[in-house]
Each structure stands twice: as C-alpha cells, then as structure tokens.
C-alpha cells in the first residue's frame, strides 16, 4: 500500500485550493478591512483624511518648509509667513539657563549630565551595580547638585533668583520626584499602620492635600510659610516652592504606593513574620520591593503629572521654562512670536512626558502576566 498523496486524499477530480481573492489580502485587503469596511467607516475615514488635510500641511509648512532657522537679533531678520525659530536660537541660553551667569553654566550642564547618566544607567536592563546607582541618585546626588548649582566650597555662589528656564523646570521636577517618593512611602505605610494615631494623621494629611489645588499649596508655601517661622528666620522663595511641590507630590505618591501595598497577599506578611523579621525588616526586605515593583507604572505617571505641574510656579513669580517663554513673547524685539515660543515649550514638555509615559507602558507590558490583575 502506497502512501496517499494530498490530492488523492482530498478526493479525485477536486481542483486545488484557489488563492484568496485579491481584494481580501495585501494592501487592498488591508484598506478594505481597516478603512472602508462599512459606509459609516468610509465616512469616518474621509472625515479623518479631510481633517489631516486641513491641519497637517499648513503646520508642516509653517514649522518646517517656510520657517526661518537662520540666526538673527530681532523679528526683522525673519522673512515670510513661516515660523521664526530665529527667536528661539537667539534666546536659547535664556530658555535653558535664564539668567544663570554664562561662565558658570558648565555647572548646570555637569549636574544634569550626572543626573541623566544615573537615570539611564538605572533604566537600561542588565547594567551592574543598580543598587549603588540608586543609592548615588537618592543620597549622594542631591547634596552634590546643590553644591554644583548653588555654589560655595570653592565655587562662586549663584543666587536662586538667577535660576530659570528649562534648568529650573528640571530642578523642580527632580526635587519633586526625589523627595515625594520617600515621603510618599512613609505616608502610605503610616496609612496602613496598626497604630490609630499614625493612621489618622497620615490619612488627614493625604486627603487634605489631595483635595486642594496645587496653586493653593504654592500660595500657602509662598505666603504663609514665612508667617509660620520664628521672627527673622526666612528662606528662599525657590526652596519654599520646592517644599510645596514635594509634599503635594508625596500625597499622590502615597496613594499609588498604598495600592501596591494592598495588592500584596497576606501570605507575604505572615511568611516574613514567621521568619522572625521585625516590622522594618519585613517592610524593607519583603513588602516594599514587591509592592513598589507592581506600582512602577503608577509612580511614573505621578512623576509625569508632577513634572507638568512644575509650570505652575510661574503664578508665584518663578521663571520656569513656561514663564521664560512668556517673557520672550513680551520682548519688543521679538513681538508677535507667541506661537513659536509656545510650540517650543510644548515640544520640550512633550519630549520629556511622552518618553516617560512610553517607558511606563513598556514596564507595564514587561511585568509578568501573573502580576497583572
């Protein structure tokens, strides 16, 4: 008995399978399936195409094709209807460093190089010594950054009134992030503590801060904090804003961390206690490492919110990136260039926030599926 061939098995006289119709595969099939599958879908597609036609060509033309990229000193150097990026070029130093002395700007560069280096080191998988790097970032880096940016000990002092632009935005964002996480963890632990007094105080703080807008917290930090301190004692306006932002962020962070703590099974606590670990050892070695891992996406999202919210300091008169750009729009030499300034600032914020949100999405996908609910 011979082995039956395929055509024999499918029955004599049957023709081989035809290829699928040309209109259901390839580019045409994809178009039919995804864009023109029904009358409603076709209408939506056409509407979307029309919208794109309305928006994209003019914007591309304005921002790139007929834009001015050359250097210049006033808006008279710009020609045509396109964007005048000349203004951004001429005031670039202002946008990044504001009034930080030109000869000292290397210090700002060095600080943020260190910061980004450490962050990239932490984010890339399979780099050695992550724990040391994290320790550096949260313990060694803050005083180092203060020394580099503010001065003292051999470096010329640069008053915080001269700080501004992207540098100030990054300083505020970093301070918010570095301080809100530890404070938030403490608050979250407090809210889940067995001690009623600690629990109540943490809860009142968290709920109070979350109920009010950041502006009122900043107003409180800038107007009321000086009243709270003993006579003659005062501190820097920027420092007050930082305290406000750090505590504001901490309340939100606490809720995110609490979510992670609640997601831990009882078994983890019981196993840790059975091993004879005390509260702090159990928390630091067993609970927090797991809880924080689960909520990393939430933490990153809180960071994004905090970073965007740093722009609110313009209301209490600090010159962050947004405020510096508003300053530029009021410059008589560069009159009528609001759109360029807003577009530049929007692009910078978008670059930071979008990359953070993509990273958080990537982490969410990477977490083992068993951890997902």
């Amino acid at each position: 008995m011979s082995v039956a061939t395929a055509s024999e098995r499918s029955g004599a006289g049957r023709s081989p399978d035809l290829p699928p119709p040309a209109t259901t595969t390839g580019a045409i099939g994809w178009l039919r399936e995804n864009l023109f599958s029904s009358p409603l879908n076709t209408a939506l597609t056409l509407a979307a195409l029309y919208l794109i036609y309305l928006v994209v060509p003019p914007v591309v033309d304005w921002a790139l094709l007929s834009a001015n990229f050359q250097s210049g000193t006033s808006n008279k150097d710009c020609v045509g209807d396109g964007a005048c990026w000349t203004m951004i070029r001429a005031r670039f130093g202002q946008f990044i460093y504001f009034r930080y002395p030109v000869e000292e700007r290397w210090r700002v560069d060095a600080t943020f190089l260190l910061l980004f280096g450490a962050i990239v080191w932490l984010l890339i998988e399979r780099t050695p010594g992550k724990l040391h790097m994290a320790l550096f970032l949260f313990v060694v880096f803050p005083p180092l950054a203060v020394w580099l940016l503010f001065g003292g000990l051999g470096l010329a002092t640069v008053e915080t009134a001269l700080w501004g632009g992207l540098m100030l935005t990054l300083v505020l964002g970093t301070v918010g992030i570095v301080f809100s996480l530890p404070i938030g963890i403490v608050l979250a632990l407090g809210r889940r503590s067995d001690m009623p007094a600690v629990r109540l105080l943490s809860m009142v703080f968290i709920e109070f801060v979350r109920a009010v807008p950041l502006i009122t917290v900043l107003f409180m930090a800038s107007v009321m904090l000086p009243l709270f301190l003993p006579e003659g004692m005062s501190f820097d306006k920027l420092l007050r804003a930082m305290i406000g932002i750090a505590f504001f962020g901490a309340a939100y962070m606490a809720e995110v961390v609490r979510g992670g703590l609640q997601a831990m099974g009882r078994g983890q606590y019981e196993a840790a206690m059975a091993l004879g670990l005390n509260y702090w050892k159990m928390t630091a070695l067993v609970i927090l490492p797991q809880a924080l891992r689960i909520v990393i996406p939430g933490i990153v999202n809180t960071f994004i919110g905090l970073f965007k919210d740093t722009s609110l300091v313009l209301i209490i008169g600090l010159f962050d990136l947004l405020n510096v750009s508003l300053l530029a729009t009021r410059d008589a030499d560069w009159a009528g260039l609001g759109s360029e300034a807003y577009a530049f600032v929007a692009l910078v914020f978008f670059a930071f926030c979008f990359s953070m949100s993509r990273y958080s999405l990537y982490l969410e996908r990477k977490l083992p599926s068993g951890r997902r609910k």
């Binding site: 879908n41 939506l44 600690v198 807008p213 914020f349």
Partner: protein
C-alpha cells in the same frame, strides 16, 4: 479568634519589647510632635501678624472690597463686601467647572469610543490627539488658547461672523440671547413635567417587562415627551420670547449675550485636556469587558445597540467611574489655573486680590482650601453613591 493565644488579653508590660507598649509610646511621641509643631506655628504666626500690624479674624468679609471684577454671575459692584467678592469667585469657579465637566465627559466618551474604532486612521488620529494634549502642561494650553488663539482673533470691527448672528472677535463670542416675555415659565415647567414623566414611564416599563416580559419603547416615548411637551407649551402660549441680536454700535457690540475670552480660553483648555484623560479611561473601561460578553449577547439574539447599552456599558462603567471621579476632581481643582489669564475664579479673586488688599493670608488661604475641600468631598460622595448603584450585585 476563637480559642488559644489572644495577644489582646495579655496584661500590658511596661517594656520596649512589648509590642503594644511600643506602639503606644510611638503614637504618643508622634502626637506630641505634631501638637508641638502646630503650637509653634500658631505662636509664630500670631507674633508675626502682630508685628506686621495685620488684623485677624473673619471681620474683613464685611468690609467694602473696592475693586471691580470682570465677569460676575451674581450681582456685584465695587462697593460690595469682600464676602460678596468671595461669592462671585466661588460661583465663577463652579460655573466653569460644571460646564467643563459636562463637555469633557461628552468629548471624552466620543474620543474613547473612536480610539477603539476598527478604522485604523481614525483610531491613530485620536491616539495622536490624546498623546499631544496629555503630555503638555495644562497651564501652557490655557495660555496658548488665551494669548495665542483668542487674542489673535480679529478686532471687534472685523469680527468673524457666522450667519450674521454669531460674532467672533478678540473680546469673545457674541450670540443672540432670548428675551423672555410673560408666560415663558410654561416652557421650563413643561420640560420638568416631561422629564419626570419620562422617568416614571421608564420605571413602569421596566417593572412591566420584568413581570410580564412585554416590552415598551420607554426611551423613545421619553424622548418624544421631553422634546414635544415644551414645544407644545411654546405653541400654546404663542412663542413668548424674542431674540436680542448683537449689533455693532460704536466700538463694541450691543445686545445679545457674550462669552468672554477668559472664560472661553479656560473652558476650552480644561475641556480638551480633561477629555483626553477621560478618553483613555473610557477606552480602558470598554476594553476591560470580556469579548465573550458581546458574543454571548449576540448568541442570545440581542441587537448590537442593545448589546452595547445593556451589556457592555454597564460593565464598563464599573471600571470607568472611580477614575472618572478623580478626573472631575482634577478639572475642578485645575480651574484654579484661571488666575494665570485673569478669569476671576475663587483663587484669582479671593486668594489673589482680596489677600493682597487685606493681607490676611491665614484666613483667606484657609477659606479657599476649605472650599476646595468641600467641593471635592461633595463630588466624591456623589460619585461614590453612583458607583455603589452601578456596582456588581453579587449573590
């Protein structure tokens, strides 16, 4: 615990090693530290205020404010009291928040559904829009709409006209306003009656269907009532209103009603920003409903519309409502960014102008924070109630 070791029944030992003693000591220390901190803050504040000659107490609320406010919904003049100015700010905050919440919800749901559309182009387009608005600070968007867009609209004399009745210019949007005549009250009254009747019919229809299985088109009947009854009332009373059209007189429009640019910019920015967050929440909510639910509903013979209304949306809402609540709270709190473009909201009027004039920072900030706290509380209570209604009833 039924039997055996119960640590609560053991007598308390005065030792650091006893867990309960330790907890007690720690709590006492924490409470003492908080009390000392608060006491020193109160002491310092009182001393500082006395040194600066600033009065304290809430008596200033009755003093004459002496400044003008651009947008007032409740009656207000420069001779009104600070308390009145507070009320103006509060009403302005509530107005922009309420309108913003409604618009952002509608736009957010539409965008969220479109994001899930099987149309590749539409879904990508909405995705790009969501990412663009979510990743740029709200304050920048407010400033952009106010200084960038509305300020660059044409001047009053060169207004953009839509059908010669609605005019767009730097000073806002001018639209016809209805002027009511006697007998107009019948129309809102008819609307109210129709709304109540629609609810009653819907309940009756549901009860009858549960009892007998017979269906009644309650939704359609309600819609007909809500549109028809006020229309009937209008016809019966002979259309008791006239339109007042905005007319260019001298340097400005007269007549009609106007939406001022500050309100418009703030509302636009708040709505577009929050809508993109709501869209993501809605998308996640709908995606959280297992596809098997749709298949099961189709297998039972339900039409796609009913499947969406009775199967998908009720289940998606359970996932949507809690984060939606926090978006509503965010929108209300974010309306305080009005201060940057001079829309006279609570923070701008009260924590801005009133604080600067009186110097009574403690009282003013305390009142402002308390108001936001109360608003947050009310929204939370309402949404929690709604969430409980929607929650899964497990047997």
């Amino acid at each position: 615990m039924t039997a055996g070791f119960d640590r609560r029944s053991r007598p308390l030992r005065l030792s650091w090693r006893d867990e309960r003693t330790r907890a007690l000591i720690i709590q006492l220390a924490v409470v003492a530290a908080v009390i000392v901190a608060i006491a020193s803050i109160i002491h310092n504040t009182a001393e500082n205020l006395a040194n600066r000659g600033i009065a304290s107490g809430f008596g200033f609320l009755d003093d004459i404010a002496g400044f003008d406010i651009g947008i007032t919904i409740v009656p207000y003049t420069a001779t009104s009291s600070y308390g009145r100015a507070f009320l103006v700010g509060l009403v302005n905050t509530l107005t922009v928040s309420a309108v913003g919440v409604i618009l952002a919800t509608v736009l957010g749901f539409v965008l969220g559904v479109l994001r899930l559309s099987r149309n590749w182009l539409v879904s990508r387009l909405v995705g790009a829009y969501i990412e663009m608005t979510r990743n740029v600070p709200l304050l920048l968007q407010i400033v952009f709409w106010y200084f960038g867009v509305i300020s660059s609209l044409p001047a009053v004399r060169a207004s953009l006209a839509i059908g010669e009745t609605i005019f767009l210019n730097q000073r806002g949007v001018y639209a016809p306003a209805p002027i009511t005549e006697p007998g107009f009250w019948t129309i809102p009254a008819a609307f109210l009656v129709a709304a109540v009747a629609a609810i009653v019919i819907a309940r009756w229809a549901r009860r009858r269907q549960e009892a007998t299985g017979r269906q009644f088109p309650a939704l359609r009947a309600g819609a007909v009532l809500i549109v028809g009854l006020p229309a009937l009332a209008a016809l019966a009373t002979g259309m008791p209103w006239t339109w007042s059209y905005p007319v260019l007189k001298g340097f400005n429009f007269e007549g009609g009603m106007v939406v001022l640019p500050e309100f418009l910019a703030l509302l636009l920015a708040l709505t577009l920003y929050t809508a993109s967050f709501i869209a993501e929440i809605v998308r996640a909510g709908i995606q959280s409903v297992n596809h098997g639910q749709t298949e099961a509903a189709h297998a039972l013979g339900l039409k796609p519309g009913i499947t969406l209304r009775k199967i998908i949306i009720p289940q998606a809402l359970r996932v949507i409502i809690p984060p939606l609540t926090s978006q509503y709270l965010n929108l209300t709190k974010n309306s305080s960014l009005a201060v940057s473009i001079g829309y006279p909201d609570l923070v701008s009027v009260f924590a801005g102008t009133v604080l600067n004039q009186t110097g009574q920072a403690v009282e003013v900030i305390a009142i402002t924070m308390a108001v936001y706290g109360i608003i947050s509380l009310i929204i939370s209570i309402f949404m929690n109630w709604y969430n409980r209604r929607m929650a899964l009833v497990e047997r």
